[in-house]
Symmetry: D2
Subunit: 192 residues, 4 copies
């Protein structure tokens, strides 16, 4: 995984998604060499870069031109990008232009989550995986409801991560904001 | 990643390590096809199985015979094991018998953490990675101190994971106990 | 605060609410000697007992007769109850029978949260405080939406608590499930 | 409880302790009207102010003169202080000058935790309560070890708190850094 501080950052663009969260997204996405993936709301490019190194083709969508340029710079910085199509624009529109997909990561939806998930469902190949990352309480709820309504088995895992920061006096645990991953497919909730 | 509930469990053996934690361990371990790895305190075999699918050779050590037999059953269940050497016995002794390693995951140390880490350091190839998983407050502290004394740059990340469980009335978030990963190498602590 | 393990428990009744959560509820409720309080979904009686020791009158409502009997036994066990009215029945109905209140704690709503909060608003004296405790994702969302629609300033705080348990090998941190407190009145969210 | 943002802050002084943590400290301290309390490392004065409103006498100690002046301003701002003795200086020395105590809260120890706890033990009246708040991994460990060595039953509770912040797009959960409370006396760890 690319350490957080090896991304070029832009104050007007959220991200990068914390390494631990990108790591779990990749574990849930189970990217294969021939897979086609879409990253909706690519922001700084954290997820796009991880996908780019693992799948055949990535479509990275964001309506913020600064997100697209920041993602592009980060792709170049890490020698990636040949297999990435950057699409600036409204997600529902952009999604209609891409081929069928194996993996969809939705990190930002600009209030159009339902529409986005509906189109993704139509584009999802058999065995395809959808992962929504949410930091807003409302997105957690809406993603669960939407994916259920679309007929998926839906799981949610919430991550509270604290990293140790070395100070003179000792190791201070510094929290990241909680992130929820709402995902389709096999549940990892222990039924015991 | 192998879902938690696809492991054979044994009430007298801890584990399997939660999927999300195994996932982060793999991200930090960065296993390569030619790597040699050791899993100290393999328990149910969660980490051993993930390593087995990603590296050349895994040495799985545990002094509890039931852990060794449970790990063996899980390897068979998932069609893995050709590249795994199961070693029942005291970790320091077993470690002395194995070749140099690229990756060391220490999930259980039976009170011999310092000795274990000292031997691991001697066996670690250049660029090798050490990851200690800790659920005890004392292990978190001791692992940090030991690895620093052995000259490593040390990081600690603590994971609080809650998974949604579908009930009639709604989605109840069910917590796992906090797990800390103490690891050497590149820090993921954002210096911004 | 009454330690968790000093409550009589009943497997068919949820609770008691963890001490740390009851503690925060009391801090947010700011109970006064002349206050009238209602505990909707009193379960084992954790919140009812804390209120009983701090206010003039408590109305404890639950539609599960076992919750009412368990709360009664706990009140007796701790020498409390003179100022407590136990009401077995449907919350909206029971709420209509009680006088105006200063404090409302809603720990269980049986799917009638909107109706319950609507009636509570009508019964709430000026300066009154409402606290909803939620373990379900849907309740967190619904409580926020309802209270906002009813015109309140709404805050939400989520608590992840882990307590140390002394084992031979050391101190294992044991997690409680995350609990959210959705409350009206002064925000404690730092605006800095 | 006093909301966090009603404290005068000083960038060179830590604090105030988050409302939820001050709340739990008060619940564990069980302050009585005739109690004498000491707040070691008073910082911005969060704990001192809560104690001042609940006990007979508070000794607030800090070696940072800015902490003492900030605490003083906060006391004045909230109409408190008649029962508070502000002591600028080294904690072990200051502790030797105060009478026996019912409550000791240690929020900062400047590397002298063992000495501080040793003196506190000598000054602690029967039934007295000690609470150490820790954000450093090393302090959590050291406080547990020290208090055990001094013969106390020791408990540790770790709090991960996230507060909702209202944004246009929804409610973002914002984490506070994890805080551990290490305290003597009745365990709240559920033995079930």
């Amino acid at each position: 995984m690319i350490p957080d501080d090896e991304f070029i950052k832009n104050p007007s663009v959220p991200g990068p998604t914390a390494m631990e969260v990108r790591c779990l997204i990749m574990c849930l996405a189970e990217p294969g060499k021939n897979d086609v993936a879409v990253d909706v709301g690519c922001g700084t490019g954290g997820v796009t870069l991880e996908l780019a190194g693992r799948v055949r083709r990535v479509y990275a969508i964001d309506r913020n031109p600064e997100a697209i340029s920041t993602t592009e710079m980060n792709l170049q910085r890490h020698g990636l990008g040949d297999n990435v199509t950057l699409m600036e624009g409204d997600a529902p529109e952009a999604l209609c232009k891409i081929p069928d997909i194996d993996i969809a990561v939705v990190g930002g939806s600009g209030g159009e989550l339902q529409e986005i998930l509906r189109i993704i469902k139509d584009k999802l190949k058999p065995g395809g995986r959808i992962i929504v990352t949410a930091i807003l309480l409302e997105t957690k709820f809406e993603a669960m409801e939407c994916l259920r309504d679309l007929g998926f088995d839906v799981n949610i895992t919430e991550l509270n991560i604290a990293r140790g920061r070395a100070l003179d006096r000792g190791t201070m645990m510094v929290s990241r904001n909680p992130v929820a991953l709402i995902y389709t497919g096999v549940s990892h909730e222990n039924k015991d």
